[in-house]
């Protein structure tokens, strides 16, 4: 049981880690287009992201697929940048764009899952006999951390748009603009290393 809790904590810490904002920034940017009243959409969106990253986390950790770590590190901030650009430049009212959002969450989730697996595999490095149990716990930890990020983000959004009367589109542009700026900084840093 201690081991299970250990890996759950690792999952939570990994996604909520302030020293590595990439996954957190993606979730925030992804959710920025939705209002509080659209919490069901956020839930479905996050489920799509979860589905995507769980698939590649498992496949990569179990060595079914091999990925280039540097390429994944470069692609992750690019997913943030593309999501931010999509938020800003998409037409405001179109139902088909809702499903496009989910498709984006799912496919970008595949890339983030490879990033999660880099960390998970570093913890194991072939030195643990059992990988399934820790992998399950680590993924549960990521889901918990992800939900924590969404809840905090939605509460801050509710405060800013409800209490301070900031228009939702302004809020979304702020998050998307800042997210894109930070993502470009990450890409430059990865490429410069």
């Amino acid at each position: 049981m201690d081991e299970f809790v250990f890996y759950i904590k690792q999952g939570i810490n990994h996604i909520t880690d302030w020293k590595g904002l990439d996954h957190m920034l993606f979730i925030i940017t992804l959710c920025a287009v939705y209002k509080l009243s659209q919490w069901r959409n956020i839930l479905v969106l996050i489920t799509a992201f979860t589905l995507g990253h769980s698939i590649t986390l498992a496949l990569t950790s179990l060595n079914v697929i091999q990925v280039n770590r540097r390429l994944v590190e470069t692609l992750i901030p690019i997913t943030i940048l593309l999501t931010a650009m999509f938020n800003v430049f998409k037409p405001q009212k179109s139902n088909s764009l809702v499903s496009l959002n989910y498709l984006m969450a799912l496919s970008f989730g595949l890339i983030h899952g490879m990033g999660f697996s880099s960390f998970f595999k570093s913890m194991m490095m072939g030195l643990s006999d059992n990988i399934i149990f820790p992998l399950l716990a680590f993924n549960i930890g990521i889901e918990i951390g992800q939900l924590m990020i969404v809840v905090v983000f939605v509460l801050i959004m509710a405060l800013i748009t409800g209490f301070f009367k900031v228009r939702h589109r302004e809020w979304m542009l702020f998050i998307s603009g800042a997210g894109a700026g930070m993502a470009v900084g990450m890409v430059v840093k990865v490429l410069a290393e």
Binding site: D129, E170, V184
Partner: protein, 171 residues
């Protein structure tokens, strides 16, 4: 159009202000195991090769350490560094591990193996201090897997503010 300017302004501000990082993985992963048949305690440590070689080169003023072809001096450097930064004590006495091998086990991962025969004295607890690469990176985290008789825990984590653990064993 006016609103779009917000996004551009925040973009530039964020780009200039935040030194956002993708996830840095600064970690060593090790395993401490006991083989009842050979009565040996084995310590296996996996380092990220780029981090470890850069740190050793800096510490020992040496150039281009290649773990595929380590010489005696480099082996001594590795053994010396590990002995200084990782201590395992049994019954209050430091265990003197002997270096067995240094080899590259996968891309950018170098594995260092130590072992030591266990004396007949019963060991009831182990004190483990693991500060590997804490002197190199502030965000360094060290994970240690345990395969020891009587141990109630099988994975430990060491961080710079918590680099010492005591575990109960029975062998």
């Amino acid at each position: 159009m006016m609103l779009l300017r917000y996004a551009v302004v925040f973009f530039v501000l964020a780009l200039l202000t935040f030194k956002a990082n993708a996830h840095p993985i600064k970690m060593t992963t090790s395993k401490l195991s006991y083989d009842k048949k050979t009565n040996e305690l084995t310590l296996t440590i996996n380092f990220f090769e780029d981090d470890f070689s850069a740190h050793l080169e800096k510490l020992y003023h040496r150039r281009n350490i290649d773990f595929a072809t380590v010489d005696d001096i480099e082996s001594s450097m590795v053994a010396g560094y590990v002995a200084k930064k990782m201590l395992v004590k049994a019954n209050k006495k430091t265990i003197a591990f002997q270096l067995g091998s240094i080899k590259r086990v996968e891309e950018n991962v170098v594995q260092v193996k130590f072992s030591v025969p266990v004396s007949d004295v019963k060991i009831k607890s182990l004190e483990i201090s693991n500060a590997l690469l804490f002197d190199a990176f502030a965000e360094q985290v060290n994970t240690m897997h345990l395969d020891l008789p009587g141990a109630t825990i099988n994975v430990l984590q060491f961080i710079p503010s918590d680099s010492f653990k005591v575990i109960k064993v029975n062998f």
